[in-house]
Amino acid sequence: MARIGVKKTYKLFINGEFPRTESGRSYPVVGKGGVLLANACRGSRKDLRNAVQAARKAVAAWSGKTAYNRGQILYRIAEVCESRAGELAEELRRQGSSAADARKEIERVIDRWLYYAGWSDKYPQVFGSVNPVAGPYYNFTVPEPTGVAGIIAPEEPALLGLVSRIAPAIVGGNTVVAVTSESRPLAAITLGEVFETSDVPAGVVNLISGLKSELVPWLAAHMDVNAIDATGVTPDKLADVQKAAAENVKRYVHFDGDEIGWTDDRLSQSPYAIFEFQEMKTVWHPMGM
């Protein structure tokens, strides 16, 4: 008799752990020909709240790490993605990509982690400055992380889109609560396992699957989220997200993947994507004897 395989339960990724959703509900993820691939967690407001709490708690330690250290952790993510490339590609394929496209997407995902890993100890030199003020003062400006970023991943490319938005946020010391692709969440959830085994501290990245119509309004309005990346929000809902973001003057970020494309390496990955999740701090001190 043929061996029966052990099927994976796709869960959430919150605070470095893999809980099932508090809602106790799931939604079907279907592949080609309407085949049921999995029952993904239908994340709830409570899950989001837990994720934001975990993300907030993680900010101090993550942003306090040395840039070199954060760079090495992102590099480690690339390594683990490389070693699990087959599994991630297979998930993309089951979700509807051709084998060749799935392979290409994974390669790009790995390279994108590597790209941002290398920026960790360089973007502050690109965006920081020493300012020649007209007086006896030493004056400099440094970028600092905004804090907790809410990120809505695009539906497609499900994994590359998510990684392209998370990587610039976390390399800059932010922590993230991300809502994954609703229709293709599988590889995104597996990415949580990559984080868990890459020395990414608990809470730095939190991944919530579910219905965007339920999750996005809450994430956009959450008073302890500092920035909202609405890349994966459909155009008809962008105004609602922006309106909710105004409640606590959130930084609003949006990458137009449909227009620019996710494979233009000059525009879909750049230090300017890091800059969008940074605050500029200027420090003055008198000079004297």
Partner: protein, 478 residues
């Protein structure tokens, strides 16, 4: 004790203020479509200075259309180095007319002449001079990107630093190749009108800068105008949120410079006399009408007694009165409405049980005045420790450890600025890192410079003004 000084009033006879100002649209002054004018006064005397046009939606539309025409047909096509020359000219003209500008600024806004003369006006000129130089160097500010202008910028500025805020807004916008519709605050429009005259004298092409006066409704019409590509607002957090909401669903770029409730933290090893001067400058500069004012003083417990004693002595020597007098330290409150707001919050402080100390200085009979005030025994939850007062009122709190100071200092939705006083260098750097604010003044306070980026964290807004970073809100990168 307070030494008697003889009166030393700045002359006003060289200043010409028209009885009525129209809207500056398309390079000339035009009557408002609204056919309405409102009075602008001197808050120190309540005397009327001039009548200002009230721009309605039609007027706003006219200004935006002129700005659009000037952008497409003229300004965008200029070589950047030629744009720079106009901006340099504006800087020079401000310097040439600096005294008249300072006097009008003081008459219209109530701030001491020594501040408008030595800070507001020179900094405004410096700001234009600084950004003029950027106009043909933008590609050096944004590596590996093509830089282009955005289009028409709508800019709304507050009444606390009228000409300086106009400079902060207009200079980077022009340098990056945009055209402007600027709305000054309704209580302090006069130096903006003088700036309009300077634009004419500089031969700036008509429509590149348009200046329209009015109150909140005028600003709202500018924000909601469909042909404005970028809004820059400086003002209250409450209005900032409204603007952010109003722009939801549009592609209009936005920067906000909003309120603050800045901590000014004094450690026991700080040079106390210098720190006290910094505290005074932090909160009583410009009558406390400063978004980055050091309005929450945190003193390490071990030195609370001498600090309070010195503070009490020092505020008693502040000269409050005629803003045009060159010896005046604290001038008039900007408006009756602002005075009422300050009074209401101060009353709440007394009601909530904080102990008030007020300078016993005499106040003029006419005009809007508030004696320099501080509260001790303030707790974190008191309204005077949480809400922006925007007046000469300081709340004093204490702390024991640096960690406690950081915790308390960051415990507000705001994050514009912060002050730290200590002799220990490593502590300065750590505090500067831990305080969630856009500007940190260490062993100094309320310093500004065109080369130095300014702007907030959290609900104090987003975007920076000043420095290389101040260009970013006015460019498109591709």
């Amino acid at each position: 004790m307070l030494w008697e000084y003889s009166p030393s009033p700045e002359a006003t006879d060289h200043v010409r203020i028209a009885s009525r100002y129209n809207l500056f649209i398309g390079g000339k002054f035009v009557e408002p479509h609204s056919k309405k004018w409102f009075e602008t006064i001197n808050p120190a005397t309540e005397a009327t200075l001039a009548e200002m046009a009230e721009a309605d939606a039609e007027d706003v539309d006219r200004a935006v259309r002129e700005a659009r025409r000037a952008y497409e047909k003229v300004w965008k096509k200029f070589a950047p180095s030629e744009r720079a020359k106009y901006i340099f000219r504006i800087a020079r003209l401000i310097q040439e007319k600096s005294r008249a500008l300072a006097v009008v600024e003081t008459m219209n806004g109530g701030k001491p002449i020594k501040e408008s003369r030595d800070i507001d006006i020179p900094l405004a000129a410096a700001h234009f001079f600084y950004y003029a130089g950027w106009a043909d160097k933008l590609e050096y500010a944004f590596p590996n990107r093509n830089v282009s202008s955005i289009g028409v910028a709508g800019q709304i500025i507050p009444w606390n630093f009228p000409l300086l805020m106009a400079a902060w807004k207009i200079a980077p916008a022009l340098a990056a190749g945009n055209t402007v519709v600027l709305k000054p605050a309704e209580t302090t429009p006069l130096t903006s009108m003088m700036l309009a005259e300077i634009m004419m004298e500089a031969d700036l092409p008509p429509g590149v800068v348009n200046i329209i006066t009015g109150a909140g409704a005028t600003g709202a019409a500018l924000v909601s105008h469909e042909d404005v590509d970028k809004i820059a607002f400086t003002g209250s957090t409450e209005v900032g949120k409204k603007i952010q909401r109003a722009l939801s669903g549009t592609d209009t770029k936005l920067t906000l410079e909003l309120g603050g409730k800045a901590p000014n933290i004094v450690f026991e090893d700080a040079p106390i006399d210098q720190a006290v001067e910094g505290i005074i400058n932090g909160i009583y500069f410009n009558q406390g009408h400063v978004c980055c004012a050091g309005s929450r003083l945190f003193v390490q417990e071990s030195i609370i007694e001498p600090v309070i004693r010195k503070l009490r002595e020092r505020i008693s020597t502040l000269r409050v009165g005629n803003p045009l007098d060159k010896n005046t330290d604290v001038g008039a409150i900007n408006s009756r409405a602002q005075l009422e707001k300050i009074q209401e919050l101060v009353d709440s402080g007394v009601e909530e049980g904080a102990e008030m100390f007020q300078s016993s200085c005499s106040l003029p009979a006419k005009g809007f005045w508030f004696a320099p005030t501080f509260f001790t025994g303030v707790s974190q939850s008191n309204r005077i420790a949480q809400e922006e007062i925007f007046g000469p009122v300081l709340s004093v709190l204490t702390f024991r450890t640096p960690e406690e100071a950081i915790e308390k200092a960051n415990n507000t939705p705001y994050g514009l600025s912060a002050g730290v006083w200590t002799e220990k260098g490593s502590r300065i750097l750590k505090m500067a890192q831990k305080l969630r604010a856009g500007v940190i003044w260490a062993n100094t306070y309320n310093k500004f410079d065109p080369a130095s980026p300014f702007g907030g964290y959290k609900e104090s807004g987003f975007g920076r003004e000043g420095g290389l970073h101040g260009l970013a809100p006015y460019v498109k990168l591709s």
